[in-house]
C-alpha cells in the first residue's frame, strides 16, 4: 500500500481517511453495543445468531482500521481504542446505549430498539457498500466486495425480526413504533460526510449523500409497504453530527469501557 500512498494527492488522502474513519467508527461502535447484548438476548438461539452479526461487524471495522493503518495513521488497535470522543467520526446512532442500565449491573435493554437500529443501519450499510464497490480507491473497493458478502445475512436476519415483531402483539407494535421514532431522530448523520462532504464526493470515493439516501428509501419501501406503513423520512440533519466529532455522553462512556484494559498499558502486548 505504501506505493499507493505515495501517489495520492494530499487532498485525496485527507478525504479518504475521513471516509474510512466514518466507516470504521460506525461498525466499531455498533458492534461494541452488540457485544454488550451478548448473553442477554430474548431467546438463547437468537443470542447466538445475533452475536455472529456483531462479530462480522467488528471484523469489518477492523478491515477499515487496517486500511487506515496502511495509510500511516497508526496501529489499528490504537485507532479503535485510544482516540478520544471528539476525534470519533461515527454516526450518533451507532453510539447510543442499548437501553437503560449499565451492562454489568441491571441492564434493561430494549430489543425493539436493537431490531430497528440494526435493520435500518444494515440497510444503510448495504447502500454504502454497493457504492463503495466502485470506489476510486482500489483497496476500499476490494474491502467493500468482501463486506458485502456478509451483509445478506445481516439484512435477512434483522428484516425478519422487524416484520415479525410489527405483525405480532399490540405491545410489540407500540414498542417497535417508538423505536422507529427514536432511531429516525438520529438518522440525520448516517449518510452525512460532515464537513468533508465536498471533498469526499468530489474524489469519486463513494456516491453523493443524496443518492445514498434515495437508495435507502427505495430499498425500504417494499418492507414498509408489506406492513401497510410508510418509510419514515430521513431528517435533513440531526442535532449532533457525529461525522464532525459531535457526540453524546453515551460515546464517552462507551470509550471508557471499551478501552479500560487497553489503557492499563497501551504499549504492552495483550
Amino acid at each position: 500500500m505504501s506505493n499507493a500512498e505515495n501517489v495520492l494527492s494530499p487532498e485525496y488522502k485527507e478525504a479518504l481517511k475521513t471516509l474510512l474513519f466514518q466507516l470504521a467508527d460506525d461498525d466499531f461502535l455498533l458492534s461494541f453495543r452488540g457485544s454488550e447484548w451478548l448473553g442477554l438476548a430474548p431467546h438463547i438461539e437468537e443470542d447466538v445468531a445475533s452475536s455472529s452479526i456483531s462479530q462480522d461487524t467488528m471484523g469489518h471495522a477492523a478491515m477499515y482500521y487496517k486500511l487506515l493503518e496502511d495509510l500511516g495513521e497508526g496501529n489499528a488497535d490504537a485507532l479503535a481504542h485510544a482516540r478520544p470522543a471528539e476525534e470519533r467520526k461515527n454516526s450518533v446512532l451507532a453510539e447510543r446505549v442499548n437501553g437503560e442500565g449499565y451492562y454489568l449491573e441491571t441492564p434493561e435493554y430494549d430489543w425493539a430498539y436493537a431490531v430497528v437500529r440494526n435493520f435500518f443501519y444494515a440497510q444503510a450499510k448495504k447502500v454504502k457498500i454497493d457504492s463503495l464497490r466502485t470506489s476510486s480507491y482500489q483497496p476500499l473497493a476490494e474491502t467493500a466486495v468482501k463486506v458485502s458478502m456478509e451483509l445478506y445475512y445481516h439484512l435477512m436476519h434483522w428484516k425478519l425480526w422487524f416484520t415479525q415483531l410489527l405483525s405480532s402483539t399490540d405491545e410489540a407494535k407500540r414498542r417497535m413504533n417508538n423505536a422507529i421514532e427514536l432511531v429516525m431522530k438520529d438518522f440525520g448523520d448516517i449518510f452525512s460526510y460532515g464537513n468533508a462532504k465536498d471533498a469526499i464526493e468530489k474524489e469519486g470515493l463513494i456516491a453523493k449523500e443524496e443518492e445514498l439516501k434515495a437508495n435507502w428509501t427505495e430499498r425500504m419501501k417494499p418492507v414498509f409497504e408489506s406492513l401497510g406503513m410508510e418509510v419514515p423520512a430521513i431528517p435533513a440533519a440531526s442535532e449532533k453530527n457525529g461525522r464532525n466529532g459531535e457526540h453524546t455522553e453515551d460515546l464517552t462512556e462507551a470509550l471508557t469501557t471499551l478501552s479500560e484494559v487497553y489503557r492499563l498499558d497501551p504499549a504492552a502486548a495483550w
Partner: protein
C-alpha cells in the same frame, strides 16, 4: 398401530434397557427408560446447560473491555459458544422433560427460584482481564476433562451434544492459553495479574470436580451416573487428570501453585494436595457465592425485560 411385540413387563423393559447400556447401544429420547435414569439425566444435563448460560456471564463481563480488536472478537466468539452450548444442552434436557410437561421457561423459573443450580466456578468474581484468561485456560480446561469423560455417555442425544461442545472447547482452550501466554510473557504487572487470578481461582477449580467421596458432603451423584454409563471416572480421578495435564503447564509459565504443599507421589502415582474449602460448594448451592445474586439478577432482569418479545413471538406461531 399394530402391536408387534407382546406387552413387556416393567422388569423385562428394565432388563432390555440394562442390556443396551451394557452393550453400549445408545438410549434415545423416545426410548423407554427407568425413571431413575431420566431424573438423573435431567438433573445432570439441565444443570450443565444452565451452567453454560450462567457461565457465559463472568466472561461476558470482559467482552466489551477486551484489550484489542482481536481479543474482542475472540472472547465474543467464545462467549457466544457458551450460549450455544447452553442451547444444545437445554434442548436435550427439554426433550427429557416432556413427560412432565415442562419447557425451557420452567427451567428458567427453576434457576431463578434456586431450585436449579449452576456450577460453583460461575459464582465467583472476575476481577481483572487476567480472570478472563484464566477462565478460558483452567476453568475450560477443567470442563474439558469432565466433558470428554462423558463423550461416550449412554444417552445418545447428550453424547452428540457433547461431541459438538468438545470440538469447540478445543478453540476455547487455545483462546484461554493465548491470553495467558501474552500476559505471562508481558510486563511485571501483567504477570502479577495472572498469578493473582490463579490464587483466587484455585479453590474453586478443585471444588469444581466435586467431593472425592460421599462422606465429604453427604451426597454424590457419581455412583448412579457411573452405573448407567453416563460417565466413567470418579470425581477424584477427574481431579487427578486435571492436575496431570495442567500443573506442569502452570509451573512452566513461571507461575506458583497456590498450594505450597502440592506434590506428585511417584510411588502411589497420585497428586497430593491440600483439601479445598468445601464450604464454598455449600454456599453456592444456596446461591450465596460472591457473585451468585448479581449474576442471577442480571439473568432475571434480561429475561423479564424481554418477556414481551417472547409473547410477541408466541403470536407469530405458524
Amino acid at each position: 398401530m399394530t402391536n408387534l411385540a407382546l406387552a413387556a413387563t416393567e422388569e423385562e423393559k428394565m432388563e432390555r434397557f440394562m442390556e443396551k447400556i451394557e452393550k453400549g447401544i445408545k438410549i434415545e429420547a423416545d426410548d423407554w427408560m427407568p425413571e431413575e435414569y431420566r431424573t438423573t439425566l435431567i438433573k445432570l444435563i439441565s444443570m450443565h446447560g444452565m451452567s453454560e448460560i450462567m457461565g457465559a456471564l463472568p466472561e461476558k463481563e470482559w467482552v466489551p473491555k477486551a484489550p484489542s480488536l482481536h481479543r474482542k472478537l475472540g472472547i465474543m466468539a467464545k462467549v457466544q459458544d457458551e450460549m450455544g452450548h447452553g442451547q444444545l444442552l437445554l434442548r436435550v434436557a427439554e426433550d427429557l422433560l416432556k413427560p412432565y410437561g415442562k419447557t425451557r421457561g420452567d427451567l428458567m423459573q427453576d434457576l431463578f427460584t434456586g431450585k436449579l443450580k449452576f456450577h460453583n466456578v460461575f459464582h465467583a468474581e472476575t476481577r481483572t482481564w487476567g480472570d478472563a484468561g484464566l477462565i478460558g485456560w483452567l476453568v475450560d480446561g477443567a470442563a474439558i476433562i469432565t466433558q470428554t469423560d462423558m463423550l461416550n455417555a449412554s444417552y445418545g442425544p447428550y453424547a452428540r451434544a457433547l461431541h459438538r461442545i468438545c470440538a469447540e472447547e478445543v478453540f476455547h482452550a487455545q483462546h484461554g492459553e493465548a491470553i495467558i501466554m501474552a500476559l505471562a510473557e508481558g510486563t511485571d504487572e501483567q504477570r502479577a495479574m495472572i498469578q493473582d487470578a490463579l490464587n483466587r481461582w484455585w479453590n474453586s477449580l478443585l471444588v469444581f470436580f466435586g467431593p472425592a467421596a460421599k462422606e465429604t458432603l453427604g451426597t454424590s451423584k457419581q455412583d448412579v451416573t457411573i452405573k448407567y454409563k453416563i460417565r466413567t471416572k470418579t470425581n477424584e480421578q477427574l481431579r487427578q487428570d486435571f492436575f496431570t495435564k495442567y500443573v506442569p503447564r502452570i509451573l512452566s509459565l513461571g507461575l506458583e501453585l497456590p498450594d505450597k504443599t502440592m506434590h506428585y507421589n511417584e510411588e502411589k502415582e497420585v497428586w497430593v494436595y491440600q483439601e479445598p474449602d468445601w464450604s464454598e460448594l455449600k454456599a453456592v448451592a444456596r446461591n450465596e457465592g460472591a457473585r451468585s445474586q448479581a449474576r442471577l439478577n442480571l439473568r432475571r432482569t434480561s429475561y423479564q425485560t424481554n418477556a414481551w418479545v417472547r409473547d410477541a413471538l408466541a403470536a407469530t406461531i405458524s
